[in-house]
Symmetry: C2
Subunit: 940 residues, 2 copies
């Protein structure tokens, strides 16, 4: 058969120069190119399994290119139909049956299959090829009239639902009615005659809904089904999914047509799904479920409870149903064997679908199995140990962002579902800072601090947070806000602190008068129990129990030893692999000794950004800052600033000690003065009393300090230029701390960084002050410490002027948050009003819903615009200072795509919040492997 088949296929597609839209697959048939992009994941899976000699029903794949062409031209390619006809002919020969043949009909399943599996796509139409004639022939052929009519019934229902989009309700009503009429309880109890009646009723339902009789021509059925697959690519849910995951619209989907096998021929038949390992834990054991005497959709439909595939699983899940291992031991053994074969072949855990047709196993699909972060790490670790994959591959197997799942405290899923059942899941917000937090409600930072003092765990609930809430955020277990996106103050600080955070939870409303909040009809007040899952965005009015991450128990609390924790060992192995390969250094953004400790435990190679402003925000210090701002006499200002020195110095010294031997890059005061203004009347009064001036005077100064656009206002190096003593005080604090630490035997490498520089003269002014102050401190203390002076590149002009800046700056640190703001002209704080529209997609006049931006540029670095400025700055900086050290200290330094991009640009390090350090290490390791592989591919 092989030779006969090969020819027409080859001639049809090459001699006439047509594009090959359709590829057949089947035993002894030459395998199509095993290209996921062309055949889709499902198509490639079945074609590859066929080529491997595994039991797969034959069929053909219509390529993703056909779908892409369809989207462009709004019609299927002309030559595709002919190729489908040919593929049908090939399949007919392989199956020794004919589409529409009343005696010996070929029945097929039509499925969609994009590169990646995608919810919302048309799933499956089974039993296609049945009509009023073939149903009879089919019944005779399988010698089972009932199964034939049941198949026809199912076909009409599926076709009506997924091809004609008419829903299931009417069909289900008829089915229910029929069961009532016949006095039976289950579908399976309907006999052939009843099913035949039902088919007639289904056809009426169909005609009513569509205005056309149910199509009797199997070729027409197939044409429509193929079209439906193509169209489902642009279904709302599929688009939303692509948006969320950042997949492009122009991938398109393939269509997989396979000869039917039947899991519903009786108790020697069945259908199921499974994983070659446990997708939740990564444990090495076949994991899955199946239904006896059922077709594919029954498993997911949830009508009958599926049975576990093996005894181990039955035990674990507490299922009392007999497992496949018990019911059909040889089929189960074959399935396990197939699983082994697949793992060996694909070198990854597989997610499979199978059908058992009268005791014969057929594989319907295989693909890499989705898994939790925990499972991903374990599977990679195990497969490495098993010798299935090598170190590089193991490193590539874990999605960096999944790693955080291992680091944060979590809720047990069962606890959450229990709470949900009890109606305690009251809202969902943005999952802005992963991890679980639980405790009582604190409505203000002050309350949070008081709870903390008393040892009571709390969650800080605010409309939104401001820098003044910092202490409260530190004190709280987690943060919940009504307003703000994933990069709002709350989210950024929470991630920095490694605190769970749910933000933008709009369902919550606040009542200022009573100082309470409302959500889901319930009032929330200080002291009420609350739990938030920052990994999912769920909010519970309940105090759920959290479980700490083992890794932190080993690294920080030392409450576990490395040997005790398998998770830790897996994590450590992965990190070792990453460190072995990566070129990019990973530092941390840490403002406090606590942060620094965590970051160092997570392997940070220094600090890339110490934000000194938090050091100004604590209550006592803030008062001095305010006195500085509100004093009109320079003397008073200097005096107020001088009082801040001891605080800063102590913080710096603690940080230097923890970062012994590693560089610590400190940014001079950056935030808008605006942020330091007193807010409440009480704060005003306090300041007034302290300063002994009139309220009017104070108000007048406050007025003059208030800004229309603080992010573009009096901040960054502009502060240090207008108030040089601010710079002097900070530099003095840094170097006094550094010299003292050094004298205590600590190796210190302070780096001082000037923020928001757009012109060399700004930098030179500050550099002069830094050098002068440093010299003074060194002379006074009789010792020097090695140090560097650098600049942030965070306004576009700074990037353009990088050649000039590098004449003075010893290093660059890219502040990609501000750079993104300025490059887009888009404020991180305000973007929530339109950015979701941009990233989720908006309707264009051509009727298509398209994303304006593929990603939120505050979360994923904009490689095109912001990235180009980084590139420009690096090129120019290197002109005047070859090899100038360049790092990233924006939020993007802890996001895997960003890290990889920065690796490619040739930066020296990224810096991210402590809990992102492992993520960045992993991403950096992967980036190096990817680069190596790309070079290898080029070489070929």
């Amino acid at each position: 058969m092989q030779k006969v088949l090969e020819k027409p296929s080859a001639v049809a597609t090459e001699a006439n120069g047509q594009t090959k839209w359709v590829y057949s697959f089947g035993k002894d048939h030459p395998a199509p190119p095993l290209d996921r992009n062309l055949l889709g994941g499902k198509g490639k899976g079945v074609a590859e399994m066929t080529a491997m000699g595994l039991p797969v029903s034959p069929g053909f794949v219509i390529t993703t290119e056909a779908c892409v062409r369809f989207r462009e031209k709004k019609e299927v390619p002309k030559s595709m139909d002919a190729q489908v006809d040919q593929a049908i002919a090939v399949l007919e020969k392989m199956m020794d049956a004919k589409l529409g043949d009343p005696e010996n009909p070929l029945l097929v399943a039509v499925r969609s299959g994009a590169r990646i599996s995608m919810p919302g796509m048309m799933e499956t139409v089974l039993n296609l090829g049945l009509n009023d004639e073939t149903v009879v022939g089919f019944g005779k052929k399988i010698n089972n009239e009932r199964t034939a009519w049941d198949a026809y019934r199912r076909f009409i229902q599926m076709y009506g639902n997924v091809v004609m989009d008419m829903g299931l309700l009417k069909f289900e009503q008829k089915l229910a009615q029929k069961k009532t009429d016949k006095g039976v309880e289950f579908d399976v109890d309907l006999d052939a005659a009843a099913l035949q009646e039902l088919v007639a009723e289904y056809k009426e339902v169909y005609q009513e809904a569509t205005g056309e009789p149910f199509p009797q021509n199997p070729r027409e059925q197939m044409e429509k089904a193929i079209l439906a697959v193509f169209k489902s690519w642009d279904g709302e849910k599929a688009i939303a999914y692509r948006r969320y995951h950042g997949y492009p619209d122009d991938w398109g989907t393939a269509v997989v047509v396979m000869a039917m096998v039947f899991g519903n021929k009786g108790d020697n038949s069945g259908t199921g799904v499974g994983f070659t390992r446990d997708p939740a834990t990564g444990e090495r054991r076949f994991y899955g479920e199946f239904l006896l005497n059922a077709q594919g959709e029954d498993v997911v439909a949830g009508i009958r409870t599926p049975q576990p595939v093996n005894k181990a699983q039955a035990e674990k899940t507490g299922s009392t149903l007999p497992s496949l291992e018990e019911v059909m031991p040889s089929v189960y053994n074959q399935l396990e064997e197939v699983g082994q074969t697949l793992e060996t072949h694909f070198q990854d855990m597989q997610d499979v679908e199978f059908t058992i047709d009268e005791g014969r196993l057929f594989m319907l699909q295989t693909r890499a199995g989705k898994r939790t972060g925990v499972a991903a790490v374990k599977v990679a670790y195990d497969m490495l140990k098993e010798g299935l994959i090598d170190e590089e591959e193991a490193l590539m197997r874990v999605e960096p962002s999944q790693l955080t799942q291992l680091l944060f405290p979590i809720f047990a899923d069962s606890d959450k579902r229990q709470a949900e059942k009890e109606g305690k899941l009251v809202a969902r917000g943005l999952n802005a800072g992963p991890g679980a937090a639980s405790g009582v409600v604190a409505m203000t930072s002050k309350e949070a601090i008081e709870f903390a003092k008393k040892g009571i765990k709390c969650v800080l609930l605010r409309e939104e947070t401001s820098p003044e809430d910092f202490a409260g955020m530190v004190a709280a277990q987690g943060i919940l806000t009504q307003r703000g996106g994933a990069t709002s103050h709350a989210a950024v600080v929470a991630r920095g602190l490694g605190k769970p955070c749910v933000c933008g939870c709009a369902e919550i409303t606040f009542d200022e008068e009573t100082g309470t909040a409302k959500v889901a009809g319930q009032t929330l007040k200080t002291g009420d129990p609350i739990s938030i899952d920052g990994s999912t965005g769920e909010v519970f009015i309940d105090a759920l129990r959290t479980r700490p991450s083992e890794i932190l128990q080993v690294l920080m609390d030392k409450s576990m030893s490395p040997e005790e924790s398998e998770t830790y060992q897996q994590y450590a192995t992965l990190m070792d692999l990453a460190d072995k390969h990566r070129r990019l250094d990973v530092r941390t953004n840490a403002d406090t000794p606590d942060d620094t400790q965590v970051a160092r435990a997570f392997g940070a190679q220094g600090i890339g950004l110490v934000r000194t402003e938090h050091m100004f925000m604590e209550k006592k210090r803030l008062l001095e800052v305010r006195k500085m701002l509100f004093s009109t006499a320079e003397e008073d200002r200097r005096e107020a600033v001088a009082k801040l020195l001891p605080f800063q110095k102590a913080d710096f010294k603690a940080i230097f000690k923890i970062m012994d031997g590693l560089p610590v890059n400190i940014r001079l005061l950056d935030p808008p003065l605006h942020e330091f203004l007193p807010h409440s009347k009480r704060e005003f009064e306090e300041l007034r009393a302290e300063m002994g001036v009139s309220t009017d005077e104070l108000e007048a100064v406050a007025d003059s300090l208030r800004e229309a656009n603080p992010m573009l206002g009096h901040r960054g190096c502009r502060l240090g230029i207008c108030y040089p003593y601010l710079t002097e005080m900070q530099v003095e604090a840094i170097f006094q701390a550094a010299v003292e630490a050094q004298q205590e035997g600590i190796q210190v490498f302070p780096e001082v960084m000037v923020p928001l520089v757009g012109d060399k003269k700004e930098l030179d002014h500050q550099k002069g002050l830094i050098q002068q102050t440093t010299k003074r401190v060194f002379e006074k203390m009789g010792a020097e410490v090695p140090h560097k002076i650098g600049t942030m590149i965070e306004v576009p002009r700074g990037a353009l002027q990088a050649e000039q800046l590098a004449e003075s700056a010893e290093y660059f640190s890219f502040g990609t948050n501000d750079l993104t703001q300025c490059t887009f002209g888009m404020s991180r704080d305000d973007a929530n009003s339109f950015l979701p529209v941009y990233t989720q997609g908006v309707e264009f006049t051509d009727g298509q819903v398209k994303q304006i931006l593929d990603f939120d540029p505050f979360q994923t670095v904009d490689q095109t615009g912001v990235g180009e400025l980084v590139k420009i700055a690096m090129e120019r900086g290197n002109k005047s200072r070859p090899g100038i050290k360049c790092g990233i200290c924006g939020e993007h330094g802890g996001e895997a795509r960003g890290v990889k991009f920065f690796h490619r640009l040739g930066l020296h390090y990224v810096s991210c919040s402590p809990f992102r350090v492992p993520v960045a290490r992993l991403a950096a390791g992967q980036a190096a492997i990817e680069e190596k592989r790309a070079k290898g591919a080029e070489g070929k």
Copy 2:
């Protein structure tokens, strides 16, 4: 003598390879290179006059390069001293006298002389070379002991003051005491003996103040004086002046040393200053004043009233003193002749200083004379008619910004001085919008509108203005604000409207309770008289009479014919010349039919920017806008928007009619939604009543709309993407208006521009809406109009993405205001807190006061950063759309340096506020000439 002199000089500077720091000049001496940059203005002037054969006392010039070297190395170049010695030797030979020779002493004057004359620089030390010995010899030589002692006295005083910086007070006290002692009234009545005593006392005063005896060595005197000149370059006042005018610090100053001539030898001697034409009006007549029997400093000292140079001037100024023309007719004739010679030679009006030494005229200095805008235009016009200069040169002779002086209403200077004398000049603010306005105080926009309705002229007095004040600003004669810089809302809108504006007048304080303001101890309330001069920043509590500009009388009011107005003819000639040469088109930024009318009269070649937001700001319309914003149902929003259509349409139609035959570029709604929010309780209540919702609901929506950084918020195309009906409504209004206008015989060329675009998809989304709407309007109305769709480039990402944008955009319009904000990360509204420090200079650790930025980038385009982005955008845009039309519509399009820069970049047009159109035309003409000349110079 010539040959003898030539040699040593040549040998000294060339054979030994030393830099030539010193150049001699004198009759028959080879002229130094007549390079202003090298010799300074004064040095070049005297050297050139000498070379022309005019009567000039000989001397030498120490170059600006010597000063530059001095600033760098903090010491005078080693080889300079020797060169000075040689130059002294040369001068001694020319004068046949010797420095320090007791019998025949050479006396010299030492003056500073930078490229441009600069207040605050060391001015002059006369009579240098006198000491206790030479004073006697000098007296004998001139046969006038008294003059000799007087000269010595003056020398000590000047030296003490300007070289040793000890002030004049102590000297003046001694002089006064001496006169009392001697019982005389005037200095001239002191005899030689008295003066000799005075010299002794002066020397004591000197020693007391400096701790050293008065230097007796003339060479030391000279050395110190030269150093003083060098140091004065970095004097506070000189630095401030350079800051203000944007002159670089590294020009340095030259030192001019000239043999003394004496205007104080009796009544056949004198000294004076003058202009070859009237510097205020440009009238062609020698203009100046002089003093008999006086030395240079007496003229400016104001002790004696100077006499006019000629009878005409005496008549005009009402002086009863005899003129030079009468006192010394032949000297006057010679002076007039010299003036003619100088004008012919320099082809420009000259500002000269002269001394008459016993009937002999000596020229001390010549330079191009500073003149008012009015004079500049007249002089250029006259000289062109006189054939003294050609068209190109005439075009180059007027500083474009001066042109506005001819356009705005003005106060008579005499009226202002009278008011000042009466104590009615109460404050000075920023001269933010040129012109004079006078009327009664309006404290709110509403009051201004009411006054206008009653025909009462008013000045709007506000703390600062917001877009809602627009109608009030239109109604008022001028605007006065307490807060905001030269680019604040008030200033920008005022300039756009051609209204006088004084802003940032911090002396004014507001009392909200009484609704009054205070300034200079006086209370200002609604209805009080007030006058502001927006050209000078002066504020008067008085109703001064304004005079309208003749040009507007001819062009707009038609109350004068072109023939009646000489000023108009001059203006028109200048504009014709500019138009003949310029390559750059000049459009206008106009939002209202009135603006458009003015701009067209001023020669705008279309509109480069119609801001539609003002059309939303009028009270009735604003309510609909607010309803749109606050409605939660999309239907309600659409309905509210639809109500705005007729307003917009009417405005557009009126604008199209006025711009018949010319393009009109309309920007879709741009400002932050934020700006449309209700402010006062009353406004909230009004909206609440109109919408029938609760205050709480309204407040909640307002809260959600408020932005932290509105300039980076929900604005620009983000509005049209989130609220597509806003775009549709505007486009519908534009094209309904366009079609109707066309049907009435008007030639319309609408251009629709999408603001704040950073990504092609944003543009494509809006372009789709524009095209769809346009098509619908055309189909409905049965006619089409030619039109274009373009984009603003005003965020850095837009510039970087220009290649992609140009695929969709038919033209680019650079919004340099926003682009400057984003490129610097600096808000125009908030920069006032630090930008003045940046542009005025700040002390660096090396002790130097340096500017961080040479210019306010919101006033003068930042060529380095913003300019580079414009360049990048043009290059990239031209890749995908060769020849793409590019214009500027920021404030920078009306600023001469900006216009010239944009010409060089190859833009197609600039667009500026109506009253800047003539400025831009002139600057564009000059840019073309400058380019031609630069090419010519290259060719050489």
